[in-house]
């Protein structure tokens, strides 16, 4: 067994929606805090628009387990249309937290009391800031806020390493807004 803590994140998106970048940014944020993360993709069909997953496995020591994530502690649903056609909640942990990229709440399967699901208007936030509906960094900001596993500052550092100039600034702003959205107690 992994010593210390081991957390697993499963991202649901369509190929081309930046799920791998999202996973690697999250992994890099943990790296900034001296932790180890293995971020990796799994493609269903190898084409744009096809449903795909990216995973992040986080630990205090190097991650050796190479299999996919079947019992996620955290779910990041980048494309809410996937909730309809797929069982995105399959294997969802008892104390799991799911973040869905959607402006409006919509019906989802019944959850256990200990499981939490949040709807975040991530694409709306991104549209306002960068003029494009790429809400991935807003979801990551929200992840920092709700889990407390990794600091927002670490995520922002990772974003700064990955992007430069205007794109970096816009994504930092988007991440901050996602963070603040979930920090505001009215949404809890």
């Amino acid at each position: 067994m992994e010593k210390g803590f081991l957390k697993e994140v499963r991202i649901h998106a369509r190929a081309g929606q930046g799920a791998i970048t999202t996973a690697s940014l999250l992994g890099d944020a943990f790296f900034e805090e001296g932790k180890f993360a293995y971020a990796f993709p799994h493609f269903g069909a190898a084409r744009m628009g096809a449903p795909m997953n990216a995973f992040v496995r986080i630990s205090e020591r190097p991650v050796r387990l190479r299999s996919q994530v079947y019992n996620p502690d955290y779910l990041l649903i980048v494309d809410p249309s996937l909730v309809m056609g797929f069982d995105v909640f399959k294997g969802f942990k008892e104390e799991g937290i799911a973040l869905i990229n959607s402006e409006e709440d919509f019906p989802i399967p019944e959850m256990k009391k200990s499981q939490k699901v949040f709807f975040i208007p991530a694409n709306k936030i991104a549209q306002e800031i960068m003029g494009r509906p790429l809400g991935n960094t807003a979801l990551l900001g929200a992840f920092c806020a709700i889990t407390g596993l990794v600091k927002l500052e670490s995520l922002l550092k990772a974003i700064n390493k990955r992007f430069s100039g205007k794109i970096a600034q816009q994504n930092i702003e988007t991440a901050r807004r996602g963070f603040e959205y979930l920090k505001s107690t009215s949404r809890r």
């Binding site: 067994m1 992994e2 791998i20 996973a23 690697s24 992994g27 890099d28 790296f31 180890f36 993360a37 293995y38 971020a39 990796f40 993709p41 799994h42 493609f43 190898a46 190097p62 991650v63 050796r64 387990l65 190479r66 299999s67 996919q68 079947y70 990772a158």
Partner: protein, 390 residues
């Protein structure tokens, strides 16, 4: 410096540190990110190398053959069908005794078309005269590339090296990787110098016709050199440790072999998942272990024999199969114990073909099956419906 990198990016950075003069590659998933990264470094002027764009893998390999024959350090990478398309040239490079490093991002072969990971591509190239390494982690892949150049260009060897890393799992995975300083790489890897090379000032011919009077001896020479390689790999590993302060690579690696009753033998990234499974089973007092094969060619038979001779039950778990026969590694491990007294029970398992996920659950099943009857070639995690025979 420790960085958080994609496997392909880490390999590209490492190759750049080895200062190749010629890079030639053709895109094929999941290898593409490696040459893309290198091409970008060349275009930005960060890497002084000639990046030769070609129309196929056959030409990429030919281009590297030519570069190496003129005394220029070269690099190429490929996967799956790309490696198969190179194969004719792959044999030639070894036959000409030319140093070269090739990264194979392991992927299944067609048909049916499948872009996901297994190791059928490189295992198909096992008889070519190339040295073959298999990496468990991105860090190990990085370290093996450095050692590969050193080994390949060693005057006692002069053979090409293929460094294998599992497609997607390692090429597209992100991990913390320690990328060494240029200064240290330069210390470890001296400039490439070939005593006999293609040079207009001193003309010579390489690869001339060798009839029945000579050909046999050229193959014997490679076979003898391969025996030398087994001695030189640990030697280079020691030097690597002295320069970089890290033990990495080698012939084989044991994990909880002492006192083990059941052992899985495997290659590549699945060894990480096997180690995790072993930790869990050890907590339940199961005496299980792993033998990881890092160097597959030359085949480190003595090290494998010594590591396994006292084990009762052995599972050889492979991501490749010789259809109509057995797993290639199984055949060789089994042969090691033929005619020996009290040899272990060796069983063969095929898993993970075409990217089928290998979970801790599948590996626990493999360990359980070892208590049963011996099996030669059992396919794990099959999902057969009554009508899916063909």
């Amino acid at each position: 410096m420790k960085e958080y990198l994609e496997g392909s990016q880490a390999i590209a950075k490492t190759v750049a540190l080895c200062r190749p003069g010629v890079i030639s590659a053709y895109p094929i998933t999941p290898q593409t990110h490696i040459p893309e990264n290198l091409a970008e470094m060349v275009a930005k002027g960060e890497l002084k190398a000639e990046f030769v764009n070609v129309e196929s893998e056959h030409s990429a390999a030919s281009c590297c053959l030519g570069a190496s024959a003129t005394g220029v350090r070269a690099y190429t990478s490929t996967s799956s069908q790309g490696l198969l398309y190179m194969l004719e040239v792959i044999f030639n490079i070894a036959g000409l005794r030319l140093p070269l490093v090739l990264t194979c991002a392991n992927r299944a072969v067609s048909a049916p078309i499948n872009i996901w990971n297994d190791q059928q591509d490189s295992l198909t190239a096992r008889d070519t005269g190339w040295i073959q390494f298999y990496a468990e982690t991105i860090q190990e892949a990085v370290d093996l590339h450095l050692q590969a150049y050193r080994l390949s260009e060693d005057k006692r060897i002069l053979l090409p090296v293929m460094v294998n890393l599992d497609g997607y799992i390692l090429t597209h995975g992100y991990e913390v990787v320690d990328i060494p300083e240029q200064e240290l790489v330069d210390k470890f890897l001296p400039p490439y110098q070939l005593d006999y090379k293609l040079d207009p000032e001193n003309p010579l011919t390489l690869g001339v016709l060798a009839g029945p009077d000579y050909y046999l001896e050229t193959r014997y020479a490679i076979q003898k050199t391969m025996e030398e390689v087994l001695k030189i790999i640990p030697e280079i590993g020691e030097e690597f440790f002295k320069v970089f302060g890290r033990k990495s690579g080698g012939l084989v690696e044991g994990y909880f072999l002492e006192g083990a009753e059941k052992v899985i033998v495997a290659m590549g990234s699945v060894c990480g998942t096997i180690k995790e499974t072993i930790d869990e089973l050890r907590n339940e007092k199961e005496r299980v272990g792993l033998l990881k094969i890092i160097t597959y060619r030359p085949f480190p038979q003595e090290e494998i024999y010594q590591a396994l001779k006292d084990i009762k039950e052995i599972a050889v778990l492979e991501k490749a199969v010789s259809l109509g026969g057995f797993g290639p590694l199984y055949t060789e491990i089994k042969a090691l114990f033929a005619g020996k007294k009290e040899s272990p029970k060796v069983s063969g398992f095929i898993a993970g073909l075409g990217g089928r996920d290998i979970t801790k659950g599948s590996l626990k099943t493999v360990f359980e099956k070892l208590s049963g009857r011996q099996t030669d070639c059992e396919f794990m995690d099959l999902n057969l419906s009554p009508n899916s025979q063909r």
